[in-house]
């Protein structure tokens, strides 16, 4: 279908040493949809996410972005990656550049824009994440939540087709999580296609259109966000009860 931005088919990944992290995962992401992937540690969710933009090369399977297979050797990896945004758990801001420069780096050197145009877009995007007051600061002087918002802005500035979030709030303490989640919620409302790997079950339920629960490398349950209320499989029930107990 035309509006299926991301199609993942039979994804498998075996790490060197024999760890079979992902054992045949298939799902689709439609335009404007936000999909949350939840599961316990070691279930393979980060691997799946990183396979999408080929930071990890899948052992088997196909990944299609807008009908184009992106994991064959002939594809231009850099071009693909500029269409997919990624936000990391450890923020990974470029610590030797100021906030504004962090955003304009991609625009200037990947999209080839000149400095003024790049800065215009950067300021727009920083406004969306509410970081306009710190554009001249270095990442070392920012708090965790601010850094993550800048990271989101960095991905947004490239106008990607889909943004991937790899546990965006796992490194933040509860007070700071709020600002980041608010930003992500705002993006979802605006219609950005997103795939979020997260531990925040409630957030997943509120924001995501669909939730995928992974366990031991396969998708154990998949469905709209109300499966949190009404889990269908045993494993999801156990998982949710374990999370609730904390």
């Amino acid at each position: 279908m035309e509006d299926e931005v991301l199609i993942i088919e039979n994804l498998e990944k075996i790490y060197a040493g024999g760890v079979h992290a992902v054992r045949g995962v298939s799902f689709k992401v439609r335009k404007g949809e936000s999909v949350a992937i939840i599961g316990s540690s070691g279930s393979g969710k980060s691997t799946v996410l990183r396979c999408i933009n080929r930071l990890i090369e899948p052992t088997m399977g196909t990944i299609k972005l807008n009908e184009e297979v992106i994991n064959n050797p002939l594809a231009d990896v850099n071009e693909i990656r500029s269409k997919i945004g990624m936000v990391f758990q450890s923020f990974e801001l470029f610590s030797h550049l100021k906030v504004l420069e962090n955003i304009t780096l991609g625009l200037r050197y990947v999209r080839g824009m000149n400095k003024e145009d790049a800065e215009k877009i950067a300021l727009e995007v920083l406004e969306r994440v509410d970081m306009l007051d710190r554009i001249d600061a270095y990442p070392g002087n920012l708090s965790g939540g601010q850094k993550q918002r800048v990271a989101i802005a960095r991905s947004l500035a490239m106008h990607p087709e889909v943004i991937l979030f790899d546990e965006p709030t796992s490194a933040l303490d509860p007070e700071l999580i709020g600002s980041v989640l608010q930003t992500i919620r705002g993006l979802a409302d605006e219609g950005m296609t997103m795939v979020i790997v997260t531990h925040e079950i409630n957030f997943a339920r509120d924001v995501a259109d669909r939730i995928i629960y992974m366990d031991k490398g396969i998708i154990a349950e998949e469905g709209p966000s109300d499966i949190i209320e009404n889990p269908k499989t045993e494993r999801l029930k156990e998982f949710l009860s374990a999370m609730d107990d904390e």
């Binding site: 933009n53 930071l55 050797p73 002939l74 231009d76 990896v77 850099n78 071009e79 990656r81 500029s82 269409k83 997919i84 945004g85 990624m86 990391f88 450890s90 990974e92 801001l93 470029f94 610590s95 030797h96 780096l105 991609g106 050197y109 990947v110 270095y138 990442p139 070392g140 002087n141 960095r154 991905s155 490239m158």
Partner: protein, 861 residues
């Protein structure tokens, strides 16, 4: 910490243009200023005599009186070289040659004229030969008999008052004759040298080099009994030494390579005579006022200056009492006297008392300043070369390109590399030498990258490299063809073909085998001599390495089948075990003789050692062998040959070589062994000549460019700059290997997430490196690099062994002159300390400047 703008001595307070000016003048000062005004004055003093005849010959007799002979029979007597007067001559013919020994002085000239006198008497006796020929040279042998030589192979000897002919067995013109005891030498045209062992009664031809068979050897002379020299009229110097204890000097002759202006074997001067002052010091005279001194047996020949008023007339002969006092004579009445061996004196030469510290410092500080400048020159360029090459190497070592990527995603690039870039580079090396070859290689790579960039600039879907994209169904076939071509080469013709990997290995091993470095037994230890084969034939060694590489790639590509994964070698470990044990068994038991079997401790230990090694290797190869469940698959070896990273391997080869040999040895190998300085100098001179020619087409601009080109070329490629060029490269290349490891460590210290983040926004590997990783890594590696740079400054003192006059060598020279060891070396130490400390301060500044706020523990102030 004061902010940048607040500090008093802030670099930023200086306006930008002045900063640039400051840097530029410093660089020019260091690199392009000439050395200390090298003013010299001549040590030849003109002797004024009232005659303008051409003087042709001069001798000094056993009384230390000089006798000068010239045209129209003029004879001049120089009593003790101080009182000069013209003597009545018994002839009016031109006297062309003269000789003297303890007993008499003899001279000869045109029309067969021969005159002589005993040293103790004042009377000149004329005893000419019958023929009316011009006598070319005269000599007196051990028996006080006079021998003359003429054109057409004529030799005559005056014995008991009568002239008789001696058979020379040749019709060549004979130009010079000389004797040392009973041994004589005659030189002539067409490269002829005759020798005699019996006071000139019989003569035989001596062997001379083929290349001078057309030249006229116009002068020849002994120096004592163990060395003889000869010169040709077109400026070549020949030398003969005692080959072994059995042969005597004068039998075999070789041409001296002269390290003067044209780096060739000729001086390009019409020489007239040569005088040997010591075993290695020779004085040459020639046309156009040419007088030159060589202090090392003809290697470096330096023309000497004349006092003002000399009009470059032809100098005909030289006569010296000893190595320092003597005269030279020439046309138009020129006689010059020297007490210094003719060697130029530096201007302002005064006698200095080196025991006075004030005078000592005065004298030495100029030398040391020169040395300091010389040190800075090689250190700066060494640092830059080392740094940039180090970054390149570090990038190569961390490059993720595997063979699999080269063949899968980048097949077109790989094809162009192997079928276009490398063959063209090899052809250009064959045609114009390795310098042009390397240049072509880099140029083509640069051009193809640029062209590819422009073709693929705005395309979302790549169309391959340079617009070539091999369709999917043909890819595997093309890979196999590529592999085949690497293995067997491209055999077009002798001139245009390329050998493949297999051929290269085979021919290289053949070359090595010719050396016969090992013995015939199959023992491994007997073949260890082949370790040194690379030195015997370096070209073969390179071909071997390249051959191994190409064969590996070739076989790998040929067997590629689309899935680039591990390969399994069935029973591979068993195979390994067989090899290990056959080596051990041959080592122990070949040549084993039961009769000779001695039970000494040494041989017992040897057996035990080898057996122990064997068991150890066995255990390592098959660790979990259990005889109960013998699984044949246990013996398999799985390797992944596609994991090889070619750039990584190349860079590792480089760093392993430079980090595992001492810097001192590298200096000597590069300067004396490979003679890198000489080759670069030659290339530089060629380039300068080309530039000069181009500049000459530019009309009026030529007068602007030509002196600039000359000056820069002289400071970089002039005579004596060979050790400079070698030193730069030895220091730079060695430092690059160490800096590479430092930079690599710094790159590895950057969290991998940074690379991931950079790649996630679409930057290429290189782009991420350049914009994200390297800026952060450089900051980390400044302290260790500072260490490395200090090492470089101090290691530059090793350049003194290749005769580069940097600070240490200047120190040695000063000690040799002044004998003040403590003071001299003290000054040198202070100089090094100042330089190194300044560098350390600068680096500290750099560290502050590049501090990233909020990142890293910075420690104290």
């Amino acid at each position: 910490m004061l902010s940048k703008e607040d500090r008093i001595l802030s670099w930023y307070k200086i306006p930008k243009s002045s900063r640039i000016l400051l840097i530029a003048t410093t660089l020019i000062f260091i690199f392009l200023t000439p050395n200390l005004a090298e003013g010299y004055e001549s040590t030849w003093n003109k002797i004024e005599i009232d005659s303008t005849n051409d003087y042709n010959a001069a001798v000094i007799d056993s009384n230390e009186d000089a006798w000068i002979f010239g045209d129209k029979g003029i004879i001049i007597h120089g009593e003790k070289l101080t009182n000069w007067s013209i003597i009545d001559s018994p002839t009016n013919e031109d006297i062309l040659t003269a000789d003297s020994n303890d007993y008499m002085v003899a001279a000869a000239g045109t029309n067969g004229t021969v005159i002589y006198k005993e040293v103790l008497s004042n009377e000149w006796i004329k005893k000419s030969i019958d023929a009316q020929t011009k006598i070319n040279s005269i000599a007196i042998n051990n028996m006080n008999e006079i021998i003359i030589v003429t054109d057409f192979g004529g030799i005559q000897i005056l014995r008991e008052g009568e002239w008789s002919e001696i058979d020379s067995l040749t019709l060549e013109d004979l130009y010079h004759i000389t004797f040392e005891n009973e041994r004589g030498l005659i030189s002539g045209s067409s490269g002829l040298i005759l020798g005699s062992e019996d006071n000139g009664l019989t003569w035989e031809t001596r062997e001379t080099p083929e290349t001078i068979s057309e030249s006229e050897i116009i002068s020849i002379g002994y120096y004592k009994t163990n060395r003889a020299y000869a010169i040709t009229s077109d400026g070549q110097i020949l030398k003969s030494t005692q080959e072994a204890l059995t042969t005597t000097v004068g039998y075999s002759w070789s041409i001296k390579e002269i390290e003067s202006e044209n780096y060739s074997t000729t001086l390009n001067v019409n020489l007239t005579s040569l005088e040997i002052l010591s075993t290695t010091k020779i004085l040459l005279t020639g046309e156009n006022g040419y007088v030159a001194l060589s202090k090392d047996g003809g290697n470096i020949v330096t023309p000497q200056l004349f006092p003002d008023g000399f009009d470059n007339q032809k100098i005909n002969d030289v006569a010296m009492i000893n190595a320092f006092r003597g005269i030279i004579v020439g046309n138009e009445g020129n006689i010059f006297y020297t007490e210094n061996g003719g060697e130029n004196n530096p201007v302002g030469f005064e006698v200095v008392d080196f025991n006075d510290f004030n005078e000592f410092v005065d004298f030495t500080k100029d030398n040391l300043l020169e040395g300091l400048k010389a040190t800075m020159k090689i250190v700066l360029i060494g640092i830059l070369l080392g740094f940039f090459l180090g970054i390149v190497l570090a990038m190569c070592k961390t490059a993720p390109t595997t063979l699999k990527q080269m063949i899968e995603s980048d097949l077109e690039k790989t094809l162009i590399l192997f079928w276009l870039v490398i063959p063209v580079s090899i052809l250009s090396t064959r045609g114009s030498g390795i310098g042009i070859g390397i240049f072509t290689f880099l140029a083509i790579i640069g051009v193809t990258i640029l062209v590819d960039y422009y073709i693929n600039k705005n395309k979302t879907e790549t169309e391959g490299f340079l617009g070539i994209l091999i369709p999917n169904n043909h890819r595997n076939k093309v890979i196999k063809i590529l592999g085949l071509s690497l293995l067997i080469g491209i055999p077009i013709s002798e001139e245009w073909g390329f050998e493949g990997g297999a051929g290269l290995i085979y021919s290289a091993l053949n070359n090595f085998h010719d050396f016969q470095l090992g013995s015939d037994t199959p023992k491994l230890s007997a073949q260890l001599g082949y370790i040194f084969a690379p030195i015997g034939d370096p070209i073969a060694f390179f071909r071997l390495i390249i051959g191994i590489g190409l064969t590996y790639l070739g076989i790998l590509f040929i067997t590629a089948n689309g899935s680039y994964s591990k390969k399994r070698f069935f029973a591979g470990k068993l195979f390994l075990l067989i090899i290990v044990w056959s080596i051990i068994l041959t080592e122990l038991f070949i040549g084993f003789n039961l009769n000779n079997f001695n039970l000494s401790i040494a041989s017992l230990m040897k057996y035990l050692f080898f057996l122990g090694m064997g068991l150890f290797m066995t255990r390592r190869i098959i660790p979990e062998l259990s005889w109960k469940n013998l699984d044949p698959n246990e013996f398999n070896i799985t390797i992944d040959p596609w994991k090889l990273r070619p750039l990584n391997s190349l860079a590792t080869l480089y760093t392993d070589f430079f980090r595992n040999t001492p810097l001192l040895v590298q200096f000597m190998f590069i300067h004396f062994g490979i003679q890198l300085g000489k080759h670069i100098q030659n290339i530089g001179i060629d380039v300068t000549n080309d530039l000069t020619i181009i500049s000459s087409y530019l009309g009026p601009l030529d007068s602007l460019f030509a002196p600039m080109i000359d000056y820069v070329s002289d400071s970089l490629f002039g005579p004596g700059k060979r050790s400079y060029l070698s030193a730069i490269f030895a220091l730079g290349l060695n430092s690059a290997a160490y800096q590479c490891e430092t930079i690599r460590g710094a790159i590895a210290a950057i969290p991998s997430g940074q690379m991931e983040a950079g790649r996630s926004i679409g930057l290429t590997y290189m782009g991420t490196m350049r914009l994200i990783i390297l800026p952060q890594a450089i900051r980390i590696c400044i302290p260790p690099l500072g260490n490395e740079m200090v090492n470089l400054v101090l290691n530059s003192s090793l350049a003194s062994v290749i005769a580069y006059t940097e600070l240490t060598r200047q120190g040695k020279l000063v000690v040799a002159i002044t004998f003040q060891i403590f003071w001299t070396w003290g000054m040198v130490m202070i100089a090094y300390f100042v330089v190194t400390w300044t560098l350390a301060l600068l680096l500290r500044r750099l560290e502050e400047k590049t501090r990233i706020p909020g990142l890293g523990i910075s420690g104290g102030n």
